[in-house]
């Protein structure tokens, strides 16, 4: 937990005194003016709490703390003030720019108590972000990785494009990146209602009969239904429902929404999932982008542009290698499906090797044969020729 405190006061004796009495419980930094304080935030931040004196030459406590709101919005602000400035401090608290103020002289026990409350407040303010961006995202990632191992035919699709989704969202300057990543990871969960025979046909690019097609196209709606009641995932659920919707209003669901009325998460999913299918179908990136441009009525032009820019910037180059199972390394990408000796797809191409997957393959090989060698892509550095 972050227990970093920044103390700002123009009186160096006061700073030294507080530092002595507080350093056992907190990580203390000090600054002797508002300017120095701002510098310290830049160099040593983020701080959980900033404590500033009110009366200081050049920049007073209120001005200094107002500036820290921009550079360190989550940091909790506390002011030390004399009786004469009491009303200014009370107003600042009630306007929401200060968490607390303390009257001088302030005994160290009182300061400690208030700092503990400040650290707790910082935890509260940052907990939400941490829970959404790390705990929730991390848990869903672990489970969707397992899904893609258990059933590569249905779920490797989403794990392959999750990084791409985030990059596109960054280019579009979207705020809640965690939503994009989770929407991608959960995009295929509705496929659990689709019989595996249909998913396999789809995966191998075979045509579906009308009845099968109908079942398959129900998966975005089924995916939405699975998560629509989870608080905070309402927008993710909507995005998943619109993953097969075309920008011009065609596709699934068959409602009137078109263009920017379609949730942006849905528009992103449509573009990156199609892109991935085209790559899986044997096209190069350039060919895939060109095919998408030919059908540009289906895609948001902004997103198509972001996808293209991403391709030109991502200059990583790969080399195809043939390896045995025990030679697999974390980070290698499978270039051709890994098959059991009986022809079952164990890992689909495009999947990245992690420790768990490698272990599973080693254990599997012990019981059943695996077709070896395995073709993998290994990164050989950026900006050289691209291989496919």
């Amino acid at each position: 937990m972050n227990r970093k405190i920044l103390l700002v006061d123009d009186d160096s004796n006061i700073l030294a005194g507080y530092q002595r009495s507080l350093r056992k419980n907190f990580e203390i930094s000090t600054a002797s003016s508002g300017m120095d304080g701002l510098l310290a935030i830049k160099k040593e931040g983020p701080f959980a709490v900033i404590v500033s004196d009110y009366r200081m030459p050049v920049m007073d406590g209120i001005k200094f703390l107002a500036k820290t709101r921009k550079t360190a919005p989550d940091t909790v602000r506390i002011m030390l003030t004399g009786q004469a400035d009491l009303q200014a401090a009370i107003d600042a608290v009630n306007e929401g720019s200060l968490f607390r103020f303390l009257l001088k002289p302030c005994p160290p026990e009182d300061l400690t108590k208030t700092l503990n409350a400040g650290v707790e407040q910082y935890r509260l303010v940052t907990a939400e972000k941490e829970l959404l961006e790390k705990t929730l995202r991390g848990s869903i990632k672990v489970m969707s990785d397992i899904l893609s191992i258990v059933n590569p035919v249905a779920f490797s699709h989403s794990s392959r494009v999750s990084r791409l989704g985030t990059k596109i969202a960054q280019r579009l300057n979207l705020d809640n990146l965690w939503e994009v990543e989770i929407a991608v990871m959960l995009s295929q969960i509705g496929c659990v209602t689709v019989p595996s025979g249909i998913l396999e046909k789809k995966y191998h690019g075979q045509a579906l009969d009308p009845k099968e097609e109908e079942m398959y196209l129900e998966h975005p709606g089924a995916g939405r239904d699975l998560i629509k009641n989870i608080p905070r995932l309402e927008r993710v659920a909507e995005g998943i429902a619109y993953q097969e919707k075309h920008y011009d209003g065609g596709g699934i669901p068959g409602d009137q929404n078109q263009g920017p009325e379609i949730p942006v998460l849905g528009r992103i999913l449509k573009a990156i999932l199609d892109y991935d299918l085209l790559l899986m179908g044997g096209n190069t990136e350039i060919q895939a982008l060109n095919l998408m441009k030919e059908h540009n009525r289906r895609y948001d032009p902004e997103i198509l542009k972001a996808l293209e820019e991403e391709y030109y910037q991502d200059g990583a180059a790969y080399q195809i290698r043939e390896v045995r199972i025990d030679e697999l390394l974390t980070g290698m990408i499978i270039a051709e499906d890994i098959l059991s000796e009986t022809g079952v797809v164990l890992v689909s191409h495009g999947q990245e090797i992690g420790e768990t997957l490698k272990k599973r393959l080693l254990n599997y090989k012990h019981f059943n044969g695996i077709m070896e060698p395995i073709k993998v892509l290994k990164a050989i550095g950026r900006d050289s020729a691209k291989l496919n």
Binding site: L124, M143, V192, T193, P231, Y364, F367
Partner: protein, 385 residues
């Protein structure tokens, strides 16, 4: 919709009327004319997001009232209105943590609105964490567990079955963070992803395992922990998963010195619930399952075993289930439990015995049925009327 309920407590009716008139368009306003009345209102119409109390009132004063509110409704954000003379008391109350904010009279509507908005945001923050852990995180993990259970029933249907029982046992034992227990149970089997299907099947049908198979199986708790490493807030569940197969006397895996109450409580719950589920599936009766566990008491925490016994006594009193044969999938009731495995025509396990029918599994079942031949009737357990 977020809770926007604000209660004002003041002995001056004119002030209450003015506040109500000015604020009712933006907040849900309640009023009370004394501390005692305020407490009653909280009991009847709570929870409130914010309470604003006057300081000087006959009977309970503002500080006394808000101290009581801190006990009965700890999440409600507390604000006090005070005159200049009582300011020092208010400042102290803020700094000692019993007040969020105080306002000095007279105060402008603008200032009051500022403070109310700050207080509502504070209430949202306090509850956001709980909602995220209890609903968003648990809900997501549960949904994905259901999907894993459908795709790979021999490995993952088990974790769904034990999650609600584990939570109930934890609640009987007085544990606080029930979401941790639920998540630990749901994620307990993820390490099995490295164990070949053949080995897992042998384990469930109680066949002998070779040494190499045993060592593969013994690794799954450790792999589960590795998979969760680095996810903040899941340190507790990860540790419980690591020790889920360890016996109370210290034997079993992982092979270290921990034993007894040094083992995480959630791990001790998982250990007992795991065997209970396995024995219940094979014996068909809760009593026999618990009797068998008592014969190997060294494996389990006695308090967990007692809680299990109490739980069983409670849910099954006067409650019997019968097997019903169903010929049309549309008639399978959501919430009923499969009495037999459902296999595909090629003998692949589609749904295991013990699977609880959900909307989504019903949909998958009906899609599969419409394409492939599956033996009907389907046999399910339902509560006897």
């Amino acid at each position: 919709m977020d809770n926007q309920k604000v209660i004002f407590v003041d002995d001056d009716q004119n002030i209450l009327d003015t506040l109500r008139r000015n604020l009712r368009n933006n907040y849900e306003i309640y009023t009370a004319s004394s501390g005692e009345e305020g407490l009653k209102e909280i009991e009847e119409n709570g929870p409130f997001a914010v309470i604003v109390s006057d300081y000087r009132m006959p009977g309970l004063n503002g500080i006394e009232l808000l101290a009581k509110v801190k006990n009965i409704a700890p999440d409600t954000v507390r604000v006090m209105l005070t005159g200049q003379a009582d300011m020092q008391a208010a400042i102290d109350a803020v700094n000692y943590g019993s007040l969020f904010r105080f306002l000095t009279k007279p105060c402008t509507m603008e200032m009051l609105t500022n403070v109310l908005n700050g207080a509502l945001e504070q209430y949202r923050l306090i509850n956001a964490e709980r909602e995220l852990l209890e609903k968003t995180l648990s809900g997501s993990v549960k949904t994905l567990s259901h999907i894993l259970g459908l795709l790979s029933p021999e490995t993952f249907s088990y974790s769904i079955r034990i999650s609600s029982l584990s939570r109930k046992i934890a609640s009987r034992l007085g544990l606080n963070n029930l979401w941790e227990v639920e998540i630990a149970a749901l994620l307990s089997q993820i390490g099995c992803i490295t164990v070949p299907k053949e080995v897992l099947e042998k384990r469930y049908s109680d066949q002998d395992l070779s040494d190499i198979e045993k060592s593969m199986l013994n690794e799954y708790p450790a792999i589960g922990k590795i998979l969760l490493a680095g996810i903040p807030r899941l340190e507790g569940p990860a540790e419980a998963i690591f020790y889920q197969a360890k016996n109370f006397d210290g034997s079993g895996f992982p092979d270290d010195d921990k034993k007894g109450t040094d083992l995480p409580i959630i791990a001790r719950i998982l250990r007992a619930v795991h065997d209970f589920d396995l024995l219940f599936q094979s014996e068909g009766s809760e009593t026999e399952a618990i009797d068998k566990m008592r014969k190997q008491i060294y494996k389990y925490d006695p308090s967990v075993l007692n809680a299990l016994k109490d739980e069983y006594g409670l849910i099954h009193k006067g409650h019997r289930q019968i097997i019903k044969e169903i010929y049309d999938i549309r008639d399978v009731p959501v919430g009923s439990v499969l009495a037999e495995d459902i296999l595909s025509s090629t003998g692949v396990l589609l749904f295991p015995k013990g699977h609880e029918i959900t909307e989504i599994s019903k949909k998958r079942l009906s899609n599969v049925l419409s394409l492939k031949f599956i033996a009907i009737p389907i046999k399910v357990l339902i509560d006897e009327q």
